[in-house]
């Protein structure tokens, strides 16, 4: 297998759906070869805390292949002997400190002031992300049709916006652990509440903190909210087991329990590359995800889709519950669309869409034939 190289693209001036313009530079990766007709392209937008590193390794020694490496590669469900797969970083990618992430967001320099954007960075949506990818693919790469677009969670949000807004360019859409509208409860309990946790941190300073004086406590709380939402009670119970014998936390409530210490360690190491203001903006974009925004109804939005659609949902997913996938599929069936829902179960809940691809990869392979 070839090793993966991060590349980047720039759009000098991109106008967001709210009318505000920003310069955009984002990283991207590709796997496989583009064929002459440019007809074998599969776009893979990434999830909330993911990056454009969807598959492969950077070096032979690289211990961490891309997040969907079990799904994407030569001979795999998304077969890179056949397909040319592209993945881009999102605007305000939360892992802005990751050397393999290239993104534009509130931590970037506002060219008009020469200073960090902070909260002056405009609100953006996942529809904007689809628009940016569309401009990059069509104007810079000359790709006018996608064999498929597929993504997990927020990557699925972007995929759905592709299918709704560029229907003539999308032949197949796969949405994994995702929905056409972010559920209200999810908008509150992991995104709005996360934003509020960050904003409560005295170091937040409206997003213009200095390096080394970052709102780390608020950020770690926000990241933990996402983590506790993305798994199931059973997963937590077995991964971070209680110790009924410990006495310290009963003597003094300032003494953390053993499972709190373990969780804190996992959150801290998982947040090493994460910036609070990028997390904040990504929360907001996630909250606002609604393919019906600006449309007559959800039905009207779904009616625009012409792609063949596969939705993949984990029935223990608490962030993107299967019930909303079922509603979407029901609507689209009455619209006589080619649409299918594949349900699976896993104690990993929402994150099974990333961590347990073996539970649905055959379905994806079959759908992409």
């Amino acid at each position: 297998m070839n090793y993966v190289k991060k590349q980047q693209f720039t759009i000098e001036n991109y106008t967001l759906e709210n009318g505000k313009s920003i310069p955009v530079t984002l990283g991207y990766e590709t796997y496989g070869e583009l064929n002459e007709e440019k007809s074998n392209v599969i776009l893979v937008p990434h999830y909330f805390s993911g990056t454009s590193h969807a598959a492969g390794k950077y070096t032979p020694e690289d211990p961490n292949p891309g997040y969907w490496n079990d799904l994407i590669g030569p001979g795999k469900a998304v077969d890179t002997n056949k397909f040319f797969v592209i993945s881009t970083d999102n605007l305000a990618n939360v892992q802005v400190k990751n050397p393999n992430v290239i993104t534009t967001g509130p931590r970037s320099i506002n060219p008009k002031t020469g200073k960090i954007w902070g909260l002056d960075f405009p609100a953006f949506t996942y529809r904007d992300m689809a628009g940016i990818q569309h401009e990059f693919l069509t104007k810079q790469l000359g790709i006018n049709k996608l064999y498929g677009v597929m993504g997990a969670s927020a990557g699925g949000f972007i995929s759905l916006h592709w299918a709704v807004n560029y229907p003539e360019k999308v032949e197949r859409m796969i949405g994994v652990i995702t929905n056409p509208q972010n559920p209200i409860l999810t908008s509150l309990n992991v995104t709005q509440q996360g934003m509020r946790a960050i904003a409560l941190d005295p170091n937040w300073k409206e997003g213009v903190y200095q390096d080394g004086q970052e709102p780390t406590e608020g950020l770690h709380l926000a990241v933990q909210m996402m983590n506790t939402g993305a798994f199931t009670p059973e997963f937590y119970e077995t991964t971070y087991p209680r110790d009924s014998k410990e006495q310290g936390p009963y003597q003094d409530y300032k003494v953390p329990t053993s499972y709190e210490k373990q969780v804190a360690k996992a959150i801290e190491s998982g947040s090493a590359f994460v910036d609070a203001s990028h997390w904040y903006y990504t929360c907001r974009a996630t909250m606002m995800h609604d393919i019906a925004h600006g449309q007559e109804s959800l039905e009207t939005a779904l009616e625009k889709i012409t792609a063949k659609v596969l939705m993949v949902s984990c029935t223990s997913d608490l962030l993107q519950p299967t019930v909303y996938n079922r509603e979407m599929i029901e609507i689209m069936k009455t619209q006589e669309k080619q649409v299918e829902l594949y349900e699976f179960d896993s104690l990993k809940g929402h994150l099974a869409g990333i961590l347990e691809t073996h539970l649905f990869r055959e379905k994806i392979a079959e759908f992409l034939i």
Copy 2:
């Protein structure tokens, strides 16, 4: 029906399970009449944000009867023509500002210093709450046996501690939307994370804030965490619906969505009587709930129970998932205990245990015969 009167009891010096001693004064209410043999007593400990006002009204005009008024009263499932029902306020009752709540907690005066306890108030557990009620009932009211003890959620935690620690005094135990151990995920996502939200508020000042300068933002965030955990996605989707037509929040992320405004209003009005430091301590007690604490195992703790047991669980409950009730019942069946699990479903999730008693009251009536 007679009107309800708040009463109070005091224990000069109560020694908590961690060895620390505090003076305790708590409110209580009773419904029905104690019989001569003192054999018709049902104790009803209250849930996290509840109070001793379990049933009845204070005046004819009182618009808000007690929280389980549909369950407790003359001719009802818990028939006060037959039973003498007692409910006490908890230590550190979160509604310390409610004129009908009498409690001792971090907002009380530490008699040794003449100042508010704040975080010098000792950590306590729901086992301590059972112990305090036990001392009150036996030493002050001369009640040596409970016909039953029953409670919802944390009220069920206390009921379970009664059944484990005073087995000879408990004839029947009913646990509604509750479990023998607070699930790890619940301990994190609504209690530990709520404590951290409060502590992040610059007004927190380690719990010794002045009236009028309270950590209200942190508290409201913590209360919202509890609220989003206690209902289901479907409940939120219909109670606080999205408005796909609104533009403001897409123009500027500082503009709240219509559903955020509605939720904020509900949380604010629901928190009018709530104190942050009492919420903080109640979170901690909830986190630490584990009937196996200090025992060999969960099995060992359950083995001690001699009461006839009924557990009532809502299958959509995300805070106290039915899966742990099933585990408890399975263990107790192998121990040849008289135990039964009643499952019901409701889109109200956890809170169905308070708000939808019509879904299980017949079962309770039957169990209490």
